[in-house]
C-alpha cells in the first residue's frame, strides 16, 4: 500500500531520526510513505480564536496538496497531525469557512482527504497481531513507559484517535513488540509544549516530573510520538544540564523501537543526536546478548 506522507518542518530538520525510522519501518511493513511533492509548514498551532481564519490557510494548503495525491495523508509528528486533523474537521463542519479559505488560496480544497497518524495505520490497517508476527527481535523485558502527551489525543471530539483519558494505542504497540508497557501517572500530562520558548524553567519542571515518574515506575525508556515532547523530556537530561542526576533515561519515538524489533540495522534506527543516547541499551536487544 502506498500512502501520502506529510513530514512537516521538524521531521525534516531537528527530528530527522523520527522521519527516517518512520519511513523505514512503514516500508518494512508494506506501507510506503510517499512524501507530498510540494508541501509547506502547517503552522504548528491550531488557531483557537474563532476569528483567526488566517491561521487555517497553511494547513488547508497542505490538505489541498494531499487531496490531489489521494484519499488519505499520514503524519508522524503529533503536532502536525493535530493541526491537520483539526483543520480537516473544522472545514468539514463549517463549509462557509472552507469556501472563504478556498477563495483566498485560489485552490479548491474539497474536504475529502482524511488525515491519519501512522499509529492509526498500524492499528487499523495492519493490526497488532500482524505487527507482532513481523517482529524478529522481540523486546522482551524492556520496560517502556508510553508517553502520549496532549495533542495526539485531545480534543477527542475533533481528533478521535484514542480515549483521551485512558489511551492504549502505544501500550498495544509496545505489547506487539513484546516490550512491557509501564503505567505511570504522568502518561497524559503536558510537557509544557512551546512554553519552552518563553519559560524554559516551567517546562523543564514539568518534564522532570514526567521523567521522574516514569523512572519511579521502573521504566528504562520513555516512548512518544511527538517531536516537541521528545525535546522537552530529553533536553533537561542533556549532559550539561543543571541538576543532572546520572540516572537519565532515553526518550524514544515509537518508530525507533519498532526499527529495533523489526531487526533493522542500527543506521536505520534514527537515534543519532539524541541528548540521552539510547544505543547502549537498545543494542542489548538488537544483538540478542544477555540483558
Amino acid at each position: 500500500m502506498k500512502i501520502s506522507y506529510y513530514p512537516g518542518c521538524t521531521l525534516s530538520t531537528k527530528a530527522k531520526g523520527y522521519d527516517h525510522s518512520g519511513r523505514t519501518v512503514a516500508t518494512a511493513l508494506g506501507m510506503e510513505l510517499v512524501e507530498l511533492p510540494d508541501w509547506q509548514c502547517c503552522g504548528a498551532t491550531f488557531p483557537l480564536a474563532t476569528d483567526n481564519s488566517m491561521a487555517l490557510i497553511a494547513p488547508t494548503r497542505v490538505l489541498y496538496q494531499a487531496e490531489q495525491a489521494g484519499e488519505q495523508v499520514a503524519a508522524l509528528c503529533a503536532i502536525c497531525y493535530h493541526v491537520l486533523k483539526r483543520t480537516q474537521t473544522a472545514l468539514e463542519r463549517d463549509p462557509a469557512m472552507r469556501e472563504r479559505i478556498n477563495w483566498f488560496t485560489e485552490q479548491e480544497y474539497g474536504g475529502r482527504v482524511r488525515v491519519v497518524h501512522l499509529l492509526e495505520l498500524l492499528r487499523d490497517h495492519l493490526g497488532w497481531d500482524e505487527l507482532a508476527r513481523r517482529v524478529v527481535r522481540p523486546l522482551s523485558g524492556l520496560r517502556a513507559a508510553p508517553y502520549y502527551g496532549c495533542l495526539l489525543l485531545r480534543p477527542y471530539d475533533e481528533i478521535g484517535l484514542d480515549n483521551p483519558e485512558a489511551p492504549t494505542v502505544l501500550h498495544d504497540l509496545l505489547r506487539a513488540l513484546r516490550a512491557d508497557p509501564v503505567d505511570f501517572p504522568y502518561s497524559i500530562e503536558c510537557c509544557g509544549s512551546y512554553l519552552t520558548v518563553k519559560d524554559p524553567t516551567v517546562s523543564e519542571t514539568l518534564s522532570r516530573d514526567i521523567v521522574a515518574s516514569a523512572r519511579a515506575a521502573g521504566a528504562q525508556v520513555l516512548v512518544t510520538a511527538c517531536p516537541l515532547c521528545q525535546f522537552n523530556l530529553d533536553w533537561p537530561q542533556r549532559e550539561t544540564a543543571f541538576g543532572r542526576t546520572g540516572d537519565e533515561i532515553p526518550v524514544l519515538y515509537f518508530t525507533q523501537l519498532m526499527a529495533v524489533a523489526l531487526g533493522l540495522p542500527e543506521e536505520d534506527w534514527g537515534v543519532e543526536g539524541m541528548y540521552t543516547d539510547p544505543r547502549p541499551l537498545l543494542r542489548k536487544w538488537a544483538g540478542g546478548e544477555d540483558r
Binding site: 504548528a44 474563532t50 509544557g192 509544549s193 520558548v197 516551567v202 517531536p227 533536553w235
Partner: protein, 134 residues
C-alpha cells in the same frame, strides 16, 4: 481591596470581545474548579484557570495582567474534563489575543537564550512565535 462590579461591566465590550473571539459562552461555567484541579501548569500560575474565567465573567479587565493566560500551554486537559463543555483554552487564547492585538509582546526575540534557540525543534519556534507575539 474593594472590587466594584456593575451591570455595565457585566455587559461590557470586554466581555463581548472575549465571547466573540473565543466562541464560548462565559456564563456556561459554573465554577466547579475541575479545570484548576487538573491543570498541569497551575503551580506556575498566579491565578487559577477557574478564577480567570470568573474574572472574565464579571468583566474585570485586570485579568489581562494575569500571568496565567500566558502560562496556559493549550494542553486541553481541562477541555477533556469540563462537565459543562467549556473550552477554556479558547478563552485563554481570546484573552491573549486581546493583549496581542493591542500591541503586547510576550517574548523579546533578542533575548531568547542562544544555546536554547540553536537546539529548539522548529515547531516550538513557529508555535511559540504564534502564541506570544504578533
Amino acid at each position: 481591596m474593594r472590587t466594584t462590579i456593575s451591570v455595565a461591566q457585566l455587559r461590557s465590550q470586554f466581555v463581548r470581545d472575549v465571547e466573540e473571539i473565543s466562541g464560548e459562552d462565559l456564563l456556561a461555567c459554573n465554577q466547579c474548579g475541575k479545570c484548576s484541579a487538573g491543570c498541569p501548569v497551575a503551580a506556575a500560575m498566579d491565578m487559577l484557570p477557574s478564577q480567570v474565567i470568573r474574572m472574565a465573567q464579571l468583566g474585570l479587565t485586570e485579568v489581562l495582567q494575569s500571568r496565567t493566560v500566558w502560562i496556559c500551554a493549550s494542553c486541553l486537559t481541562c477541555v477533556a474534563r469540563c462537565p459543562k463543555g467549556v473550552d477554556l483554552p479558547r478563552l485563554m487564547e481570546a484573552l491573549r489575543e486581546i493583549s496581542l492585538r493591542a500591541g503586547a509582546a510576550e517574548i523579546n526575540l533578542d533575548q531568547l537564550p542562544p544555546d536554547l534557540v540553536r537546539e529548539l525543534p522548529q515547531l516550538a519556534i513557529v508555535g511559540g512565535f504564534r502564541k506570544y507575539i504578533k
